[in-house]
């Protein structure tokens, strides 16, 4: 899949325009605050309906405006064109594919596979257990709609069970236990497989790029680790009832699963240097691409936003060499950065970005 063009109206600081993007590599060069990341954000919004930055759609309207719209033409694998349209106005979001309105976000997220490398990815390494859980949930959801559905169901059931505890509907807990156990067991099983598959790619790749010999890998510790069937989980939930009632919440379950990045016997989230963590976070994304390519049988579109800065030239080169298996990639760079090695003029479209205006080079 490939974006052939992207158009925006009232979007952030970008000047209303239609930008051709028909190239394998699209490179945006500009100083900070000129609109490079906003461009990537617009692409992402058309793929998933929400931003990769922690903002509401109201925040992405141009200053002083209350609405914006985005359009894009995307070329499918079979060469046919798809028209994407997203409009936000009156605090409502409207998304259309070829004129047909998409009501459920679920129908959108499997349309265009898109993976973003963002500055905040370092939180996958440095951050809380939730951030790594989010990474694995995202990786699995990207290619497995049933996992996505199970996760949604689990969250809804968990909320209901917690409410049942608070409202003292004890008679209902058995019903929630049974349903949570079934969905939770499916999630736990899929996560365990996913971690194994992740490590099989991650460990050797990290060693290769970092030129090291570490045994770095993710260790998955499920909250229901010792349970090997839904019925064992039900027993576990029954046994934790007293504690759940005391704390007024569900104290065990896949929402408490731990994913720890271990470097041998050391917790890398604590021991790693910033440079090492940045590299590890980039490799997390590469594994995500590779997994998606194997399972989803499609090549994703990449949005690579300012993540190479903290690395030395050698590692940066290694990283770019390993970056493959995508159908199209968008990169942002600062003016003084050296990036041309990978992007010769035949495969790349290069834009310089200044105050929301894009000028082809």
């Amino acid at each position: 899949m490939k974006f052939r063009s992207l158009g925006f109206h009232n979007f952030r600081n970008l000047e209303d325009s239609l930008i051709p993007t028909e190239a394998k590599h699209v490179v945006l060069v500009g100083s900070n605050g000129q609109g490079k990341t906003n461009f990537l954000e617009a692409l992402y919004l058309l793929c998933y309906g929400s931003s990769f930055r922690a903002v509401t759609l109201n925040d992405v309207c141009r200053h002083g405006e209350k609405n914006f719209s985005l359009t894009a033409v995307v070329e499918d694998e079979d060469g046919s064109n798809q028209n994407l349209f997203l409009r936000y106005s009156d605090a409502k979001r409207e998304i259309r594919i070829d004129g047909k309105e998409i009501k459920d976000r679920r129908d959108l997220i499997y349309n265009i596979p898109c993976i973003v490398f963002s500055h905040d990815d370092i939180e996958f390494i440095r951050g809380t257990p939730e951030s790594r859980r989010r990474f694995f949930d995202q990786t699995l959801s990207l290619y497995d709609p049933l996992y996505f559905d199970d996760l949604r169901r689990y969250r809804a059931l968990l909320k209901q069970r917690n409410a049942a505890i608070k409202e003292d509907y004890i008679a209902l807990l058995d019903l929630y236990n049974a349903q949570l156990a079934e969905v939770g067991y499916a999630i736990q099983t899929r996560r365990r497989e996913a971690v194994e598959e992740f490590n099989a790619i991650f460990t050797p790749l990290y060693n290769k790029i970092s030129r090291g010999e570490s045994g770095m890998k993710i260790v998955y510790k499920a909250s229901w680790d010792e349970c090997h069937s839904p019925s064992e989980i039900v027993t576990k939930l029954e046994n934790s009832l007293a504690r759940d009632m005391r704390q007024q919440t569900t104290t065990c379950g896949v929402h408490r699963d731990q994913f720890t990045l271990m470097d041998g016997r050391v917790n890398f989230s604590v021991s790693g240097s910033t440079g090492q963590m940045r590299l590890a976070s980039l490799i997390f994304r590469i594994v995500q691409i590779e997994t998606y390519r194997q399972k989803g049988k499609k090549s994703p579109i990449l949005l690579v936003d300012d993540v190479l800065l903290e690395m030395d030239t050698e590692r940066r080169g290694e990283f770019l060499k390993e970056l493959s298996g995508y159908s199209q990639a968008f990169f942002t760079f600062l003016p003084e950065e050296q990036y041309f090695a990978k992007f010769d003029n035949s495969s790349a479209l290069i834009y310089s970005v200044e105050e929301g205006r894009f000028v082809g080079q």
């Binding site: 009156d90 679920r106 129908d107 499997y110 709609p145 049933l146 996505f148 559905d149 169901r153 809804a156 059931l157 909320k159 209901q160 069970r161 409410a163 049942a164 608070k166 409202e167 509907y169 008679a171 209902l172 058995d174 019903l175 929630y176 049974a178 349903q179």
Partner: protein, 197 residues
């Protein structure tokens, strides 16, 4: 606020209407035949006095018990349990069901403060104990709340010697596989039914 603005505001509170469609309706009413407006106002004003829940099944009716409960032509061994009164109409209109109904008045959702005490399970148990039901079709929605309600019914009726089933979910009739969304398809594969001879 003038009369027009008040009308628009009131209309906009109806489900499915936003401010734009509400104002379109309001302008339509201004220009329409005044007799029609009187009839409409009368119908809206009296609906709650005329229509009330059936004391047996909970469906909306103008006479108690409702025509469906009184209909001798219906199979009195068959019971269909639904969430809302409007579900009775939907299922009755399908023409393929000829039993009785029972309306729970919602689905279990502790999040919204709806526990078993807020739904009409008591009336259901009473009807089953006093009636001659042999089979129950659970027609709650295919949502988390509907699933939980179905499970609760199963738990409630344990040992009552009544056959239970639940509406099937999956691909739409006459639809092309090609146009089914991935999740519906994935679910249909998971919930596939035996087809062997």
């Amino acid at each position: 606020m003038n009369a027009l603005e008040t009308l628009i505001k009131l209309l906009a509170r109806l489900p499915g209407l936003g401010p734009k469609s509400a104002s379109r309706l309001a302008y339509h009413l201004i220009n329409s035949d005044s007799h029609y407006n009187e009839l409409l106002a009368e119908a809206i004003g009296t609906i709650q006095e005329v229509i009330f829940p059936c004391s047996v099944c909970g469906s909306f009716t103008e006479s108690d018990p409702c025509p469906i409960c009184l209909d001798e032509g219906r199979d009195r061994s068959l019971m269909c349990v639904v969430e809302q009164p409007q579900d009775v109409l939907t299922i009755a209109a399908s023409g393929s069901y000829n039993g009785l109904f029972h309306v729970l008045g919602g689905a279990l959702s502790p999040l919204e403060g709806i526990g078993p005490d807020k739904l009409n399970f008591e009336g259901l148990l009473k009807r089953i104990d006093e009636g001659s039901f042999k089979e129950m079709i659970i027609a709650t929605n295919p949502t988390e709340e509907g699933d939980t309600t179905a499970l609760y019914l199963r738990h409630l009726l344990k040992g009552k010697n009544i056959a239970m089933s639940r509406l099937a979910s999956g691909l739409p009739i006459g639809g092309d596989l090609e146009y089914a969304d991935r999740l519906t398809l994935a679910r249909s594969i998971r919930g596939r039914v035996d087809f062997s001879d």
